[in-house]
Amino acid sequence: MKIAVCVKQVPDTEARLRVAGDGRWVDEENLPFVINESDEYALEEALQIAERTVGEVVVLSIGPARVREALRKCLALGAHRAMHLSDEAFAGGDAMATGRALAAAIAREGFDLVLTGSQSDDVGSGSTGSIVAGHLGWPHAWLVMGVELEEGNSSAKVTREMESGMNEVLRIQLPAVLEIQAGLNHPRYASLKGIMQAKKKEMAEVSAADLGLDGAAIGASGATVEILSVAFPESGEGARIIEGDASSAAQELVDRLQKEARVL
């Protein structure tokens, strides 16, 4: 099976964030970037499917030069090839614009299956995979917690997470786009051998012109929403912050829980 995996490089969720000078996003200088968490699970699922079906895994990502580091890591983990959608014209896109560009790259090559994470840890619209599926005219499923290929690889049994602790099991015809939820497998670590091999694997640079995309339909020009500003919420306002070393803070907290909140 030939599988495409769309990954996004996002700020490390543990990183300390600062608002950028223009107030419209976080300051990316010295900010550590990682592969989006649910995309790591999508890659692992793709690698496992490829191992069972003697297939090929191609990773795709849109973004500036730093994205190559994330793609290189995917190659070290076992992906066969990488495609970097690298073009100023892709910058500033929302899920609608980015989904259109990714779909064009996927359609150009032809794939049997597309996997991606359900949601990015930065913008978090949870939409890009569904939009890719729409452009390709393929069925899709979101919050996928299990994938089981069926006879002849023409369909898959897919487990989808629902609210309130229930999962729905459904059958979906392939090719399809499956948007993977974190937690469905155990992503592997890169081996030293994998890291060495990754250096020799193909990483193609793809421009908007290569994909025959109109500049007005992609990136910031093709976006349907625009972030005007970002700010830290009025956080900390709710909580009375108890100061002091660990034991005196703990003592004061217990005191307040007993006498003020009366919950102990």
Binding site: M96, G134, S247
Partner: protein, 328 residues
């Protein structure tokens, strides 16, 4: 052009989904702010009771698409019918609850009709240029102000709890049939299963100690167990702890886990992503321990300690044991 706000509702077993009542309230407020009308849309098979319930709200119309092909929700069924309906009726806004089912198909619907997409709104207001929306980014660490700049319709989903379902204005809305012939189901539903687990019912617990990613390692849960034991509390967790396999899935609190309302909730190393907050906002008293003073959890907590949980939790356990011993 005056605004026409469509509210597409979700339902189960003849009842409106709780979040859909909130979406009705939100859609009504949006229509009123923009000087337009609000209308509801329901899709399904045998949805008479839901359509009737919707008829009791202050809406200009209740559009009903009733067909066998819509008996089970499928993205293909819903997108097929709604894409055709949006072209026919040309609403300016389509409002949905930010539920798992709606998130799955709303982006595809926006793509199908060439509209605009704004998931997980937490509010809106107008300025001189139009509507400014709010939504969380970066796991809720930051709030973004967002403007829709693409073609109509704008599809927007409202996060749980932004509007009160009981605030939806009541009235008398006429039922209008919607053409359902474009429904094209694109999956076969094989069944529904409960997520495996021991079935710990955290909703009954008076005190819950919940642990998040900040614990760093599953081996370090012993200090959490000791704290829970000193309080006679149940242990819960946020999603990353469950995904890492450090605790079983039935301990998860949040939108994909349990919803709880204990009298005391102690969040340890939990940053407070919105998906977690919706599961614990019913708690009476909330304590947060986190090394990041900017973590959103401090925004909803009553008491907070900023620092290393590996030092604070054992100290807290000790203080509770002493207090209990003193009380005899």
């Amino acid at each position: 052009m005056s605004a026409k706000v469509w509210i597409v509702v979700q339902h189960r077993e003849g009842h409106l989904h709780r979040m859909s009542r909130e979406a009705i309230a939100g859609g009504q407020q949006l229509a009123s702010l923009l000087g337009g009308t609000a209308e509801a849309v329901v899709l399904g098979h045998g949805v008479g009771p839901v359509a009737e319930e919707l008829g009791g709200y202050d809406l200009a119309a209740v559009h009903v698409a009733d067909a066998e092909a819509l008996a089970d929700y499928t993205p293909g069924g819903y997108v097929g019918v709604l894409a055709a309906a949006l072209k026919d009726h040309a609403p300016t806004h389509v409002v949905l609850a930010h539920s798992y089912q709606n998130i799955e198909y709303m982006a595809r619907l926006a793509q199908a009709v060439g509209g605009s997409l704004l998931p997980e709104a937490t509010g809106f207001e107008t300025d001189e240029e139009g509507v400014v929306w709010r939504r969380p980014v970066l796991g809720g660490k930051l709030q973004a102000r967002v403007r829709a700049v693409g073609p109509a319709p704008l599809l927007v989903s409202f996060q749980s709890g932004v509007f009160g379902g009981s605030d939806a204005a009541t009235g008398n809305a006429p039922r209008v049939e919607l053409d359902a012939s474009a429904a094209a189901p694109d999956r076969e539903i094989l069944g529904v299963e409960e997520v495996a687990g021991e079935h710990v019912d955290l909703s009954a617990a008076e005190i819950v100690v919940a642990v998040g990613r900040g614990i760093g390692d599953g081996d370090k849960l012993k200090i959490i167990e000791a704290l829970a034991e000193s309080l006679g509390a149940e242990i819960g967790a946020s999603r990353p702890v469950i995904d890492n396999g450090w605790l079983p899935r039935d301990r998860q609190i949040g939108s994909s886990g349990q919803t709880i309302a204990p009298k005391l909730y102690i969040a340890i190393g939990i940053s407070g992503a919105i998906q977690h907050l919706v599961g614990m906002k019913g708690a009476s008293t909330v304590v947060a321990v986190n090394k990041d003073a900017e973590a959103p959890i401090f925004g909803v907590a009553d008491y907070g300690i900023v620092g290393d949980l590996h030092e604070i939790v054992p100290a807290l356990t000790e203080a509770i044991r002493e207090a209990k011993a003193a009380a005899g």
